[in-house]
Structure formats: C-alpha cells, structure tokens
C-alpha cells in the first residue's frame, strides 16, 4: 500500500496503549489514523464542491465567514414580557445580532397564564405570553424591520406568529420587511421535545399552513426550523440526530408538495437547527454531512431546480445536556469547544449556552460570557479566515462519509415504514433515542465514558455561582394583565373569531388568516388552542421508555 498504513499498523498494534474506549460520545468507533486509502473513490467536485456550490459540503456561501460572520443569537426569555424586553435590549446593546425568544411552558403548550395547569410555571422557563397585549410589551421599542427574530415555539406557533405579524403591522412595517424564524417543527415534538396539543397529522397540517402563508405573504421569513437539537438533547446519537431531522424535513416537503406547492417556492425558506455536542470531529462531520445529504435529497428526490432549495441553512446551539452542575465554570470550556466545532462546521447562526443552565435560567453575567465566547472565536482565534479549513482532512472526510452513510440507513428505514409520521406512530425514533440515552448512561456508570467533575476529577464543593430567580409575582402580574385584557376586549367579536377558526379547521382551510383575525381581537393562546383541542383532539404521551 502506497500510504504505508500496513507498516504503521504493525507498529501501532505492537505498542502499549492507554486503556480507553476509542469511540465518540455517540458510540461511533474511531480509527487511530486515517490515510488516503480510507477515501477511495473520493471525488472533490462530486463529494465536496467549492463553498457555495452543490452539494455544499464545504458551506452554502462562496464567501462563508469572509463575507459575513454567523449570527450570534442568544436564546432569551423569562418572567414577564417587560423582563424579557429588557434582556433583549441588553443583548442588542452588547453586540448581539439577532433576537431569539424563549417562551414559558404554558405558552408553549397552549395554555393561558391563568389556567390551572399553568400554576408554578408562568414565566419560569421563558417569557409568558397569553394575548397580543403581552407581545406588544415584549417587542416594545424594538423595530421589527431592524432585527431578525427567532421564536422557539411549536404547537402554538401559528398563534404567536399571528401576534408577531400584528405587532409589526402596528409598527407600520410591511410583512416583506420581516425577517426571522419560527421553530414550528412539530414532528420533532413527537420524537423528542414533547410539546404538543393535537396528534401528529393535524399538527403537521398547521405547520404547512404557516409554510404556505409565508411563501405567499412573508417572503423573508423562515417558517420552520427543522430541529435536531431536541432529538440530541433527548439522548440520541449524532447520527440519529441527523437522520431523524432530515426525515422530518422530508415529511414537511412531502406535505407541501401534496398541497400543490412547487418545491422551489418553499424549500429555499426551510431552515435547520442542530445541536453541537462534545465530540469535536464528529460534530463537524455531522454539519458537513447534513448539507450534502439535504442537497442530494432535494435535487435527486424532489427535482429542485433552485440552488437555494438545496442549501441546508442551519442554526446551532451548544449541547445543554453536556453541561454539568458540578464545577459549573468548566462549562465555559465545554461551550467554547462546541462553539468552535459549530463554526468549523459552517453554521449560519449560533447560540452558546451559559455555564449555569443546569442550575437555573442564566444570569446576565453568564449570558455575557457565553456571548463573548462566540466573539472571541470570531475576532481572536483566526478560524474564520479560511473556509472549511478541515476540508480534505483524511479523518474529517472519512467521518463525514460515515455519518452520511449511517444517517441514510435510518432515512431509508423510515421511508420503508411509510414515512416519518407512521414511524412516530410506531414509536420507532422515540425508542431508538431512548435506547441510545440509556446506553450512554450505562457507559458513564460503568466508567467507560467520562465527564470531568462528575465521574472523574470530582471535588467536594459548594455551589459557587449565583443563579437567576424568577419571582412568584410574575404569575400574579400576568394573570392581572390577562384579566384586564379580557375585561376590555369585545368578547362577542372574540367568540365569533374563534368560531371562524373552528369552521376553517373543519373545512381544511389554511388557518393563519382566521387565527390572525382572532389575535387582533385579543383572543388568547389558550382560547385558540382550545379550538385545536376541540376540532383535532388532544394528544397524550404514549410513555415509551
């Protein structure tokens, strides 16, 4: 063999080695050395292409970070809309380039702040929004044509999006000037994040309503962010994260086409959201493989003609699940490495987690360190100067190929099951993830995998960092505001508009116009979600474990 791997192999096999299991955090076996023969048949144009050229393995833009840095987008939201509005302004003043909104659990699940199920949860994990009045405060003093806004919301996305459009209208901003992203990815909710109102089919219908509405009226908006993040946080491997995310993407594309849309009319606005975890090279390979897989699927399977339809644009967030409550300052280092992997993987935007997130919502100080981490990578490390600097590395290309092949095996399997909705009905992705999560926990418990400060280099310690506390008063304040809204609004007009949503839902019409009319009249998140519950039924957790 020309690359001399045989000689090296003999030497390697005979030499003493550390006692450690050479697998990634996902359990993928890693070779000790990669050589040219590992890339047999590798074709630069076919497999990589230049940046900005099909299949986009090296990046979707020809200039990448030479043209524009990624968007630094820190997810924020807690307490009352006033609290979060202040945090937004703080982040914008500190050089953040886009907003990203976290909503509280009641809002995310379609309950108002005064619902019995909302007790104790109002404003805890995000900002509380029950009616348009809350959204007006949330974006007060922020010109919606000057920022792009990402909103992490799914089963109630149609309602919150309608409110956002209404706030923009009140600011006098036309819809075609609005930029941002709705997460609006219901398939991964059933697989992993698990916030839902109705069963998968009607949920996907509403997702597609939003995609269709945006294609017509809000052309700069990303109506769905097809998300692997939560799949990974639920304990999947890197390959599963990639595979199930792409399978979800295929699910939405199929539904849009079924509705009669042309692939090139909506696919350019689809965007993705991946996790970026500890295993540095595996993560970089995952981003590169994701772009190549999506490009090939869009072109070969769907016959997309627009290059934009084939470009996988992605947001990335460092892995919350990798952070430790023990020695929490170490989390800054974990986040730095993960963020570096996301940048070397060519992400379009990035959220870096705060060191205190396993303990509580992040403090302002912790958020600042997280944002500075990105700024140091961008301004000091120099990694932004060369596009896809790891392209052509024997190891990174080998790993990219391997991640792609294994992900495609899953995708083919889901195709054979009849698509992702049927696979979810069977609990297939859910159980695959639960198996992987359990396997990893056992590897930790057996001491085959290590987490510094948790099962290696432990220290007796007191908690040393301060945490953010959300006051109980938030719940009372929010209930009072909602009560005032309900007293002031025209309740007859509200019930008429709720009836219109129900009628449109029964007729299979696009629901966004009637939802928008209802929120303008200050119909609430809970009231509109109740219409979904009534017409489509409620979904409950099958409880696979």
């Amino acid at each position: 063999m020309k690359d001399g791997k045989d000689n090296w192999r003999r030497e390697f096999d005979n030499a003493p080695k550390r006692d450690h299991v050479p697998t990634t955090v996902s359990g993928m076996e890693i070779p000790p050395l990669s050589v040219p023969s590992d890339l047999e048949g590798f074709d630069y144009d076919k497999d990589l292409g230049n940046p900005g050229a099909y299949p986009y393995t090296r990046g979707i833009h020809s200039t990448m970070y030479r043209g524009q840095l990624w968007t630094m987008r820190q997810f924020a939201g807690f307490g009352t809309p006033e609290d979060t509005n202040r945090r937004f302004k703080f982040l914008l003043e500190n050089g953040q380039s886009g907003l990203s909104t976290a909503f509280d659990m009641p809002t995310l699940m379609g309950y108002d702040c005064d619902h019995p199920r909302s007790r104790g949860e109002v404003g805890r994990e995000g900002v509380s929004v029950s009616s348009l009045a809350d959204m007006e405060v949330l974006f007060d003093g922020i010109n919606l044509d000057q920022v792009t806004t990402s909103m992490t919301i799914n089963c109630s996305a149609s309602i919150i999006f309608a409110m956002y459009l209404t706030v923009a209208e009140k600011q006098g901003i036309p819809f075609d000037k609005l930029g941002g992203t709705l997460q609006n990815d219901m398939l991964k909710e059933f697989i992993a994040q698990r916030e839902w109102i109705s069963p998968p089919r009607p949920s996907v219908k509403i997702v597609v309503d939003i995609i269709e509405f945006c294609a017509r009226h809000v052309p700069r908006w990303h109506p769905v962010s097809i998300s692997g993040y939560h799949i990974r946080e639920a304990g999947s491997t890197a390959v599963q994260e990639l595979a199930f995310t792409i399978a979800d993407g295929i699910g939405y594309v199929d539904e849009c086409i079924e509705r009669g849309m042309d692939v090139d009319d909506f696919a350019p606005r689809l965007s993705f959201f991946f996790n970026v975890h500890n295993d540095f090279f595996e993560e970089i390979a995952k981003f590169r493989a994701a772009r190549r897989i999506w490009a090939r699927i869009m072109k070969e399977r769907y016959g997309a003609k627009s290059p934009k339809s084939c470009m996988l644009k992605t947001h990335a967030q460092t892995a919350g699940v990798s952070l430790t409550a023990q020695q929490p300052i170490n989390n800054v280092i974990r986040v730095s490495l993960q963020a570096l992997a996301a940048v070397l993987g060519g992400t379009q935007s990035l959220h870096t987690n705060s060191m205190d997130e396993t303990l509580a919502l992040p403090t302002e100080e912790a958020v600042t360190v997280a944002l500075r981490t990105q700024q140091i990578i961008a301004e000091e490390s120099g990694v932004v100067n060369n596009i896809d600097p790891l392209g052509g590395s024997y190891f990174v290309e080998q790993l990219t190929n391997r991640v792609e092949t294994q992900a495609m095996d899953y995708i083919n399997k889901i195709d054979e099951m009849g698509g992702i909705v049927l696979a979810i009905d069977r609990g297939y992705p859910q159980m695959e993830i639960a198996d992987a999560a359990y396997r990893y926990q056992q590897e930790l418990d057996r001491g085959e995998k290590f987490v510094v400060g948790v099962n290696k280099y432990e220290m007796a310690e007191e908690s040393t960092i301060s945490t953010l506390r959300v006051s109980e008063k938030v719940e009372t304040d929010q209930r009072n505001r909602l009560k005032a809204v309900k007293n002031k609004r025209n309740s007859e007009a509200v019930s008429r508009s709720l009836n219109n949503i129900a009628a449109d839902a029964r007729d299979g019409k696009n629901l966004i116009p009637s939802i928008k009319e209802a929120v303008e009249r200050y119909a609430t998140v809970g009231e509109i979600s109740d219409v979904f519950r009534e017409v489509y039924g409620e979904y409950t957790d099958p409880g696979y474990f």
């Binding site: 909302s118 007790r119 104790g120 949860e121 916030e195 303990l359 509580a360 359990y438 987490v451 474990f545």
Partner: protein, 137 residues
C-alpha cells in the same frame, strides 16, 4: 419463604415540560435493577400523579422536574398524598433544581433530590435502603 412483592416505584413527569430523558433512563434503570416501574409519561398534574400512585399501590414516587415549578409541584403532591392518607409513600425527585431550593423541599417532606450527574447506582441503592414495601404481609 414468603413471597415478597417486588418494590413498585412510580416514576412521574409532572408539569408541562417535556424533558423526559432523565425520567426514562431512571425508569429503565430501575426496571433493569429488579423493581416494578410505573412510568406516567409526560404532562401530569400532581392530582394525576397521586391518583396513579394510589391506584397502582406504589411503594415510592420519583418525580422528575426541569421546568422550575418544583416548589409548587412537590408541595402539592405531598399535600394530596396526606389528604388521601397515603402520606407514608416516600417522594423523591430529580431534575434541574437550584441548590438553594433543596433544603426547603426536604423540609416539606421530599426525601431526597438526585441532582444532575447522580450515578444510577446511587439511586438504586437509596431505594433499596429507604423504601419499604407497603403491601400487607
């Protein structure tokens, strides 16, 4: 030799959040360690948890919470257990719970909180040591 019933543990997710990785890992770990496990699935109210616990005649209740609603949820579960004269069922928990809240929760009757990173073996050991079968002899 008397036929001893296997300890029956309810693992519950209360509140609205969907973070169920931990709960499912613990449910499986306990099942693999020889306990009988009743997993409630997501989005249970304290009332639903207590109802299931009594209906299934469990020996302990483990609740996983990552939503920040722990103070409210644990307290309500314990109060409802007391109302149903089932206050002897030990309640333990896990999830994202700020260290400052732990003493208060213990005072209210939560036996133990397993924070992030707790080895599975510690949880199994705690149950073996501290949970007694409630089944009549």
């Amino acid at each position: 030799m008397t036929q001893e019933r296997r300890l029956r543990i309810l693992i519950g997710k209360a509140g609205l959040d969907g973070h169920d990785r931990g709960a499912k890992i613990i449910a499986r770990l306990l099942r693999d360690s020889g306990f009988e496990v009743i997993y409630t699935g997501l989005h249970n109210t304290p009332e639903m948890i207590v109802e299931t616990a009594i209906e299934e005649d469990v020996d302990a209740i483990g609740i996983s919470i990552l939503s920040g609603a722990h103070n409210h949820i644990f307290l309500e579960i314990i109060e409802r257990l007391n109302d149903k004269e089932a206050g002897d069922i030990p309640v333990f928990g896990g999830g994202v719970i700020p260290p400052d809240d732990m003493p208060g929760l213990r005072e209210k009757g939560v036996k133990v909180i397993f924070g992030p990173g707790t080895p599975g073996a510690d949880i199994v050991e705690w149950i073996r040591k501290n949970v007694k079968s409630r089944a009549p002899l």
